[in-house]
Symmetry: D2
Subunit: 325 residues, 4 copies
Amino acid sequence: MAKIQTIGILTSGGDAPGMNAAIRAVTRAGICNGFKVKGIFRGYDGLINDEVQPFTTENVSGIIRDGGTILRTARSKEFMTPEGREKAFQTIKKEEIDALVVIGGNGSLTGARDFAREYDLCCIGLPGTIDNDLYGTDSTIGYDTTLNTIVECVDRIRDTAQSHERIFFVEVMGRDAGFLAQNSAIASGAEAAIIPEDSTDVDQLAQFMERGIRKSKRSCIVIVSESPKCGALYYADRVRKEFPGYDVRVSILGHLQRGGRPSAHDRILASRTGVGAVQAIMQGQRNIMVGIRNNEIVYVPLSEAIRSDKPFDRGLITVLDELSI
Amino acid sequence: MAKIQTIGILTSGGDAPGMNAAIRAVTRAGICNGFKVKGIFRGYDGLINDEVQPFTTENVSGIIRDGGTILRTARSKEFMTPEGREKAFQTIKKEEIDALVVIGGNGSLTGARDFAREYDLCCIGLPGTIDNDLYGTDSTIGYDTTLNTIVECVDRIRDTAQSHERIFFVEVMGRDAGFLAQNSAIASGAEAAIIPEDSTDVDQLAQFMERGIRKSKRSCIVIVSESPKCGALYYADRVRKEFPGYDVRVSILGHLQRGGRPSAHDRILASRTGVGAVQAIMQGQRNIMVGIRNNEIVYVPLSEAIRSDKPFDRGLITVLDELSI
Amino acid sequence: MAKIQTIGILTSGGDAPGMNAAIRAVTRAGICNGFKVKGIFRGYDGLINDEVQPFTTENVSGIIRDGGTILRTARSKEFMTPEGREKAFQTIKKEEIDALVVIGGNGSLTGARDFAREYDLCCIGLPGTIDNDLYGTDSTIGYDTTLNTIVECVDRIRDTAQSHERIFFVEVMGRDAGFLAQNSAIASGAEAAIIPEDSTDVDQLAQFMERGIRKSKRSCIVIVSESPKCGALYYADRVRKEFPGYDVRVSILGHLQRGGRPSAHDRILASRTGVGAVQAIMQGQRNIMVGIRNNEIVYVPLSEAIRSDKPFDRGLITVLDELSI
Amino acid sequence: MAKIQTIGILTSGGDAPGMNAAIRAVTRAGICNGFKVKGIFRGYDGLINDEVQPFTTENVSGIIRDGGTILRTARSKEFMTPEGREKAFQTIKKEEIDALVVIGGNGSLTGARDFAREYDLCCIGLPGTIDNDLYGTDSTIGYDTTLNTIVECVDRIRDTAQSHERIFFVEVMGRDAGFLAQNSAIASGAEAAIIPEDSTDVDQLAQFMERGIRKSKRSCIVIVSESPKCGALYYADRVRKEFPGYDVRVSILGHLQRGGRPSAHDRILASRTGVGAVQAIMQGQRNIMVGIRNNEIVYVPLSEAIRSDKPFDRGLITVLDELSI
């Protein structure tokens, strides 16, 4: 393997707050350590279509505090095909990119792993997703910011719920992982969370209602992970049917959960793993994701990072149950 | 008319940030000037059902910064009937309330006016609504906070819109008044606003799209006033039909617009008009709303305050048009 | 007078949140109406040293939500001399600037007035200062944001003051004008404000202390306008001397009051007055400041805007007094 | 040892955001598991003076989102004496408190350890301090919120620093521990941090200046841990002396760093460790601090938690150095 001289960076999949901080960290640590750095726009699509630009430290000046991604992002269908990846590799060769840093979630890192396997390329992943569903890192870039955004929104909804004495079902992101729903429920003092890792039946709903309306509480808030069939609207309807007489409302937080200035935690996580990515390249690491566990930088093989079974701590369910009495 | 000794306070209709600051101001200024103060819970319903409690300065300690209303609120159907108002007046007599301060929006102040007419009562209104649709005051308690909340949300959505290069239709409150939509569009740098005061046809939609996708801009955000028929979903569907090929998304901000810590502006407005309400009572004013115009306290007859034709400054449409190029 | 074709923009004096929104508005409205626009960097110094750059709509893209000023700013000593202004005018001629828009406070607009008098130039001022001390406009660009920032800070300090049962003197900006101190005191529920418009003697201090320590309140917060001699440190020392036994602390908010994302109010004010500046130029107005009074755009002669006697509403002192009981 | 029936809770030392969430969690989990709960006011002083009150779930309703501590707090000198602790133990006996939960930092937990040793009492500590200087837990309650508050403040100061092209020394809390300074420097994109764990000489200062003024950057921000002798004022003076010509400013953030609504992270940490404290009591644990390591609840002996040598990750210095180029 020839010496690595040029690092390419791209962001892929849903945008997450802190992606810019990660781009900045890889760029600056790369340049600081003697590499050339190139920014690849619009995710894997930009790799396929050669949307590549040399980056200096000035390209990333001031972006540490901005949400979104200056490299833009996309969910590339073409890159899922062998033909797409073939085109992408042509760009890699043409642009003389020796190592590719991919900032993204599960799907994006799966793409990186497959690409690295097919073309003997050095791919380094950074965990950039609000869903926190990557294995081997305590948290992912964007998760903490989104958690705070949700909690701020629920704080606001609580004001109205109490003033009007209403039941609210609040739908948050996390189709396949209940981290956001469960933890935002704990943090906002919600009465319950409905998450994909746990089933919720009519008896439990009755119990949630009861918690909320007991004399000392004036309202009830249930956080629900988004779901094509069983989202907040579904549960609100069931409650209206099974327990008529309540004033039940739904709030779907939607896209505003993705944006915003990254929290201190996410900026630090992005900065540390970004520097870690460059160090990994210098150490000859390949096809790993850089994460932080127990406050230390770790290198996790991409195949392990994307394992679908990131464990959900069921103790969190107990915490919420005991605190909702 | 006998000397006024006891002031009753209630909040009615949709909750608005700053209502607590207003309750605090009326209570403290009342007590400071020698009145007894009583809090009435759950709006007019609480007046009908005698949910009344004497208030000291301690009841309102620390609430200036809290959203919602410690007096809770409701939209009372019973108070719309003569029988309901008759019961309410029984409470007024029983509790020896000489002056009633009502903090609420158009419907609530209409109720106050009717009640005052029927029972020869001193009713003072405070403009408590996020909609800003009361006549005779430069702004209403809650409007500024909600405007800031919307702008924060749109700032977040902008991050995602730019990163993914998407068209967003963002629905905000204000069914009958476009103040929130038009002004949040100006403040967030949105490409357009769709408001009840102005019609929007297919040609304009085309123009909005064009503004957004022109080379120097990577996304397009249109703010839409909520509407039973023609909300954000309606316009998103039309754009998908008429201009296929765009990635169009909808975000309905919903209930989170009502809550949250009131802005400095709303706390000051609530404090000043709350003190103004007590001064009005001392001056023998009756059946007026206390507002602020041109930075000065004004007394507006309730019948005038609830006029439906608060003028909308069409210059704001020009401002948005010129700044969206 | 020849037809105006090119508009120059500069920001001057202390930076204020919303200056960028104003730069954006003048630039876009200018271009929209057929003018060329040039940005002048570093205030009047940049005019003297010809730091000028043509602006397109792209130069101001995305800046509406950013604090500070992309044009940078300075307090120019050289511009106070006839020689400095002579050099500045050379740049005006060289760059073919026909109208100069100055965004700044009292000193900056005084400079604009003098410059316009000496060189028969069209100067338009925008009220850009956190101090709110310009005559003829209800508020100035930056004032509302700073007020909110101060109130947020005092909300935080209140948590500590109550938890530890302490007296806090919080020093805020506004050396010559008590708007920030008086209004932030009302909005944060502080016990008192010490402002340049009003004298504060030892008896009043005793009264402030008493308010705070009365049984129903656990702490006391006094907001103090900054002052070379009689700032927060001075009053804290006096209290320590005259009323020993209290746990007295000082917090000087300092520079963090200037920055931050502008509030919705300031973005709208900047956008509307920025568009108003271009309209003023088109109407042949000269040497005026664009402000907003009673929710309408007004043109105020520069000489009037910089009058030193912007009236302070003493009713605000009563409001704070009655609400601090 | 008799069966534990009653749990007493107190907060001690400097207040930290999330203390209320911890009080709520211990109270609710305690009651949920069959214990009586008593709140002790004003820290150890309240224990000495028997300021104790039975707590129900209602006492802690709605406080999860409030900064400060409803139990108030103090730094007790009397408790440092054997006589003071003797009096405190009399209250413990009189109030029939079987287990004492102390929420506080290093000094407070040292007091708890000594008290437990002398009187054979079950003491459980919760890590409540913004300084993050307790051993055995990944972070302490309040640290994350304060970090975010500092970063928000530095974001604001950055706006002014760039607009005026100034050098800023920003002083933050953390007299004995550089966690806040170092991590807020990374998160805010500051040019350097001066921390107690590392010495800073004149050559380094020169290097910091150089970083900031290099062409691509318009300002320089250095974060300094507070220090009786070598705080921000000291370094600003040195720079003024050694490198004349710079516009150097100082901002001392001070007390506002302690307050404010706790972040999601701190609310969750407080909730989980609060529930963990009750579980520890049920398991017969004594004289331990409940922390979270690697996302799991851990019990750390009090003597270990207060060890003075919580390791500082020097890799963070490298991260800041590489990202400040």
